[in-house]
């Protein structure tokens, strides 16, 4: 029990630090891609910027609008934060020699657990937007809910292809199944679908209709300030990290070294792959503009879902034939 607690604490610290610097590097990368230096005033190369941001968020006034439903309004950020962190209970970052994973909990049904938790994550957005008692957050929440439900379907289907190839729902098992060939190769279509739906699930550009600043002020978190806003903020970045980890685990071979290049320990490769995926996220944000809402829905239901089903059928046929 104690060891689980210690593990959790360490992991929590790592995730939060990663979040802080992910945010800093996102701003840096966006800056570079937009011909700016990015944050560079706080500390050398702006490295203390996350600390400054954290201090600012903590010190900001905590506002609750008059029209808000106070209970739900306060509950929503915690749901977001809780579900974002809960996933890390089962994510393995590497494996011991005996095959047991470096994770808090070794769960056989890891991938299902993950889907279950992420499906609850929507509540943070929809309840928070509704409980703000104001128009823009409500619109953001309704959009967000619809978007996440629509894209969750395709994402789940893209998982199933991998599950069928691996023959297990254990994340460790899936990584072990990729020792020779990453699922990126046989599941190329699944990977593309996953990447698109993952971006939509985390509400990041070009799928950030939930908080579309140009139309909805701040979307579902318009009325939030201080640490409550911070909770949503942290949840978004932690979800990004989660999505990157899952991409690594399911499609990029996890901690397996590519082409037998065992220069780095497994965890090193894992971090590199996750980092590369995170960079891709930021690159995406710097490159693509936001979707129009009806196009988003059309794309989700009329393109992604059939493609995912096709992928599933093809994979099933392939598995059945072999």
């Amino acid at each position: 029990m104690l060891i689980v607690l210690v593990k959790s604490a360490v992991l929590l610290a790592v995730v939060v630090t990663t979040f802080a610097y992910a945010m800093l590097f996102e701003r840096k990368i966006l800056g570079w891609m937009q011909l700016r230096p990015g944050p560079n005033r706080v500390g050398p190369w702006g490295l203390l910027q996350p600390a400054a941001d954290a201090a600012k968020l903590i010190l900001k006034e905590d506002l609750t609008p008059k029209t808000a439903d106070p209970l739900i309004y306060r509950l929503a950020p915690f749901i977001s934060l809780l579900t974002a962190f809960a996933v890390y209970a089962i994510i393995p970052f590497g494996a011991n020699g005996d095959g047991s994973p470096w994770a808090i909990g070794n769960v056989n049904a890891g991938i299902l657990f993950l889907m279950a938790i992420s499906s609850i994550g929507v509540y943070g957005i929809s309840l928070g937007g509704w409980a703000s008692g104001s128009k823009f957050p409500l619109l953001g929440a309704v959009r967000g809910t619809a978007q996440m439900i629509s894209y969750e379907l395709s994402m789940s289907l893209s998982f199933v292809g991998v599950l069928m190839l691996a023959g297990t729902t254990s994340l460790t098992g899936i990584v072990n199944a990729q020792e020779r060939v990453w699922f990126l190769i046989p599941q190329a279509l699944g990977f593309i679908i996953y990447v698109i739906t993952a971006v939509a699930e985390t509400n990041r550009t070009p799928f950030d209709l939930v908080e579309a600043e140009t139309e909805l002020v701040g979307g579902f978190h318009t009325e939030y300030s201080g640490l409550r806003f911070g909770s949503f903020f942290i949840a978004e970045y932690v979800n990004m990290l989660t999505i990157s980890c899952i991409a690594t685990l399911l499609f990029l071979g996890g901690w397996n070294a590519p082409f037998g290049l065992t220069l780095l320990p497994g965890i090193g490769w894992f971090v590199l792959k996750v980092g590369a995926f995170m960079f891709f996220y930021m690159w995406l944000r710097a490159t693509l503009p936001r979707f129009r809402y009806d196009r988003l829905m059309t794309f989700g239901w009329k393109v992604l879902l059939p493609l995912a089903t096709l992928n599933l059928v093809a994979t099933a046929a392939w598995v059945a034939l072999h």
């Binding site: 570079w32 891609m33 937009q34 011909l35 700016r36 560079n40 690159w283 710097a286 490159t287 693509l288």
Partner: protein
């Protein structure tokens, strides 16, 4: 379907552009430590001047406020007390307020002023923590009585106030020849138009 495939190509091209720009030299001037050189007649914070005898030039005629396209100036006139004149003549400004948040620094107030009372200085650093602090009233706009009479813009040496700090060597960002000059977009537009015409 073919159209969509082309779009994928365009998206990939976009990724290429953003990636390429990561390694382009940035023209950013690190502002608080290095400052950009002003144009000689830069329009900054306002100043109300005085006559050599210390009397205010402003007569409260509100021509600046009626010339102001942003409605940023509010003047309320009053009659001069004969024994304690504020300005020469019968009328003076009892209250003179400029909302610097509304001001667009066009300088039309300067043009409108019949007594050359209001001038725009090159000062532009007006940050504050409270919104209300940006409504500059007469006590902050008027040249202090011990600091001379104020200078109209065309009498300034090079347009660079001495107390502005280290000035950047870059004169302007528009003529840096790196492919990202301000005219870059214009070139693109021109090409596109040509394409349309052809």
């Amino acid at each position: 379907m073919r159209k969509h495939l082309f779009n994928v190509g365009a998206i990939l091209q976009g990724f290429g552009i953003t990636f390429k720009y990561m390694f382009v030299k940035r023209p950013t001037i690190e502002y608080p430590s290095i400052k950009k050189q002003h144009a000689p007649r830069f329009h900054g914070l306002h100043e109300l001047r005085r006559y050599a005898d210390g009397k205010e030039r402003c007569i409260g005629c509100e021509l600046c406020s009626s010339a102001c396209p942003a409605n940023a100036i509010t003047v309320i006139g009053a009659e001069n007390a004969p024994d304690a004149r504020v300005s020469p003549g019968e009328r003076h400004a009892a209250s003179y307020e400029i909302d610097e948040l509304r001001c667009i620094f066009c300088g039309l107030c300067e043009e409108a002023c019949p007594t050359d009372a209001i001038v725009l200085t090159p000062r532009f650093e007006m940050a504050d923590y409270r919104r209300g602090a940006f409504v500059y009233s007469k006590d902050r706009l008027l040249v202090p009585s011990d600091a001379g009479v104020g200078t109209p813009p065309d009498e300034r040496p090079n347009g660079i106030p001495a107390d502005l700090g280290r000035v950047a060597e870059v004169k302007s960002t528009t003529n840096v020849d790196r492919g990202y000059s301000a005219t870059h977009r214009g070139e693109v537009l021109k090409t596109e138009r040509k394409g349309l015409a052809g």
